[in-house]
Symmetry: C2
Subunit: 133 residues, 2 copies
């Protein structure tokens, strides 16, 4: 059953991350080159935030950032996360509950014992559905 | 059952589109402002292509486009579409089959009698899953 699947079985383990000292323009390039919509931000090994392609792209294209602005100045620090033992149902609820209005959060970092071990994206969930059909 | 749901019951009917003569930079701004990842391109009422935030963002940030480049010059013209009567299962298969490698297509225009009547996104599918739980 779909709702009983666990985050650890669906998540992408090879997570693209960015250091908090990287400039926003380079973080955005990295997101675009890898065709992903969000990247956790690290301070050493600790996840301290997340940046999304939508936020960075919007602000870069409108010249809202000063030259050299780093991701640590603009990242979202209140990151919606899940645990590897959460069910798909629980993860989908987090995607909705932590997003404003009708939106959903497309990427949920997966954290175990304070350490980032994966990311669960909408794409991962659609793959799971495909396998259930 | 999830696999029996129809595209017409899940799709977003209020589709944001862009005219083929619009400049890429303005199309990208529109995508970012509305936090969406792709927009069908219209020539009058006819859909002639699609542009994605990933493609436009990547090329704009790297200065790959000449000043004033219009969406008609860079849009994808071989658009993966679905019909409103397709099942969710069929739509998910299109998302996988028409994308390169391990990727999926996040947005499928919904076309009836040659006319664009909606768009089915990964977010719409995740909403459907949530309602099934």
């Amino acid at each position: 059953m779909l709702d009983k699947l666990l985050v650890k079985d669906l998540m992408t383990k090879d997570v693209l991350t960015v250091d908090k000292e990287v400039e926003t323009v380079f973080a955005f390039e990295e997101l675009m080159k890898n065709k992903i919509s969000a990247m956790p931000v690290l301070d050493g090994e600790k996840m301290v935030g997340i940046v999304t392609a939508t936020d960075l792209g919007h602000n870069l294209i409108l010249d809202n950032y000063q030259f050299g602005t780093k991701v640590k100045s603009v990242m979202v620090t209140d990151v919606a996360c899940v645990s590897p033992e959460n069910t798909l149902k629980e993860a989908v609820c987090v995607m909705f509950d932590k997003a404003p209005g009708e939106n959903i959060i497309n990427q949920l970092p997966v954290v175990e014992d304070g350490k980032l071990i994966g990311i669960l994206s909408d794409g991962d969930i659609i793959k799971a559905i495909k396998n259930e059909f």
